[in-house]
Symmetry: D2
Subunit: 247 residues, 4 copies
């Protein structure tokens, strides 16, 4: 694998999706900067990437803190020019409106929207002078639909989508590809499978249709394809779902 | 004018739109509770409503503070059952993404989204036990489109729209009419006219096409029509614009 | 009831919705011109309107024929200036894609889209010189969503919505209010109740939740409210549904 | 280039876009069946594909005729299993509503919508029994927006999008990837450049910003990427535009 003198930063690399994105871009030769609340937990990911011949650097990162985002992306950019920044923090909670506390509403927003704004803006600061780069945001069904019990989560995801739209309209003409990837499906992670068990029982989980959940690697592949698009035909937003999903 | 034993609360009654909404519902016999940051400035509005035979009560209200929202709506409901709650706080600012400070981003969200969530939830708490009421949110073009320079404002407005959607899906079956009114036009207020003067010059303002700006009373009328819809044919969202507006 | 020297034309007055719209506008003093495939069947509607003190004229009309549409609207306009034209022809069919014949696809389009284009254009021809009038189109859930089995119906309804959009953007500046009303619910008609019986059985029909189906009069009321909007705050599109409907 | 025992059919291969799509898939080893009104004009395309080591077969095809579509796709499938069907017929015309004749409205629909329905249905008939295949439709800005002067074109394009949606919801679970590609830009073709010259003058054309128009090869590449998506993360619809385009 030929290594490239470019970095990819993944903010919210804690879950399966973030890890798969990191592995994909590392396998393509980029240096990876991966951040999550508890950076120690990233050790296995770094080890896996290195074992495959790639390079990865783990950081403890509270993405709700401006100075931490600035320094995380700055470090990545010092290592090698920041080529891609992926914002991948979710905060999927479901509470009836009347039981949504102000603390939950605010915290979900800080995690899923405000920190995305910080990441996008700071990545743009590094990319604009060079006139190149990609800034990608992970969205969800709740980015487009405020469903029952999703006042907090959908509000944050709608808000993140607006940030992505405004950023795209400002930065595309400067050759920065801003995109928003909507994952309209459960992703096959331990967390999602546990939610299914809780709601539908162990039997439902045991007999789960393999087409119902999206493998995290499919998300990584979708980001890779977005990255490879020619500037003459960029996509701003795309919804992906497994072929068996109802919509 | 026959007076009704019901209150209408207008949060964000400081501008022309909020004042017109208050006057319209007061003219239909409701008691009005009107709140804004500096409640003293509401004195002329109260006087005007009273002079027309209506009833209105002004309150100083920082809608970003949970306890203030709770007590404002609680007072309204003690006066007479809260029938309508209108959330009408905007925070229209325009900054390039790179010049949007974290302070601006957060403050715009607190004013235009977070306080809307608080208002909607607290109004619902009062209305759900009675199984009736209306909760209306004022949106803008930026509720649907993240334009250049609107990362902060559109993010907040998108987020408010999600709150309205989730609230509608939860509360309609309980006979609470939640709706979101999108005003896709400049409204004819001193603030908007001043923006036009700044951007386009005094001549542009002097020669302004009267059809370009929406009169605040048209917004008030639109809310009144929403209020009067039968529960068998409710509208969740509607966009209004003057006949001469491009879209 | 004071009579007005203005006509309202309803194309597709055969079903419950069209009849209710006609009755509502007749009750407000307009002369009604009502058309359907077999004009004889309109006799009871005309009788009912006349018994209430209104005026109505029934016509046999194949709205897929240009010359019939032209002459129907021309006759209305000769009686008194055409103030409102309502296009209300549906063609709700459901076939799997592979079983949708070219004949069905074409016929549904001719009924639900092509004839709507003819009606809108011919109404505009009469209204534009006077600089006033309203042209309203009835939409459905399928105007926004191509669901399973709806290739033909949704295609026609999407197409009608595009006609309405283009017409609105061209005609609003000429003071012609073009609007598109989306009814996202079954309407309480004999046809809809029969479909429910077919799919879900007699028991389901007998125990039907009264909030599940929209009364045709609610649609009529929605059109009436659209008609009364001031030109400073027009709505192009609105979706109506009963408070108990899932969406 | 390794040849594959699979065919790709391109309906509407007459313009630059169709030709580029054909060349791209031919270069990937597929046998191409290309159809247009005057099949003789396809000779240069076939020659170019063959010179590059590919295989292509030209057919005269009036896609508005059911039997011609059936036999065109049937022939392709007899040659080798039909793997991809691309429907790429446009009919971009602009007329004010009042000058849109019934003949234009109908013809645009037959070309851009009705023939797309025929193509999609007939391709599905061949693909469903095998449980694999891709059916792609080319959309435009007018697929989502009925602009001034586009009553006919947008109506047809909206209608085609509905066909694509219904087909996707029916066929995805059968492992047929139906997708709709919206090209939100002028494409760099002789026809588009001539329109620019007409509207804006020769100087505008001479000084045309190279980023303003999308190269046809970018569309071909976008279709290729759609084709390669894993079934665990399919995209139904994507909008592409050059980085310098306003939206």
């Amino acid at each position: 694998m030929p290594l490239r003198n470019q970095t990819v930063a993944v903010i919210g690399a804690g879950d399966y999706i973030g890890a798969e994105i990191a592995k994909k871009f590392a396998a393509e030769g980029f240096s990876l900067f991966v951040g999550r609340r508890n950076g120690d937990k990233l050790a296995p990911l770094v080890k896996e990437i290195e074992a495959a011949g790639g390079r990865a650097f783990a950081r403890t990162l509270d993405a709700r803190k401006e100075e931490e985002v600035t320094s995380f992306l700055g470090d990545a950019d010092k290592h090698a020019p920041l080529e891609v920044c992926v914002f991948n923090i979710g905060a999927n909670v479901n509470f009836p409106l009347l039981e949504t506390t102000e603390r939950v509403f605010r915290k979900v927003w800080e995690m899923a929207c405000y920190s995305g704004f910080l990441a996008g803006r700071e990545a743009a600061r590094l990319m604009v002078p060079r006139g190149r780069g990609s800034i990608f945001f992970t969205g969800a069904t709740a980015s487009l639909r405020g469903g029952v019990g999703y006042a907090a989560f959908a509000s944050a995801k709608f808000g993140l989508r607006a940030v992505a739209q405004s950023a795209a309209r400002e930065l595309w003409p400067k050759n920065i590809h801003v995109a928003h990837l909507i994952i309209d499906s459960g992703v096959n992670t331990a967390w999602v499978r546990e939610r299914i068990r809780e709601r539908e029982g162990q039997a439902a989980l045991d007999n789960l249709d393999p087409d119902r959940l999206m493998p995290p690697s499919a998300v990584a592949e979708a980001y890779w394809q977005l990255y490879r698009q020619p500037q003459s035909a960029w996509v701003f937003e795309q919804e992906i779902r497994p072929f068996g999903e109802k919509w």
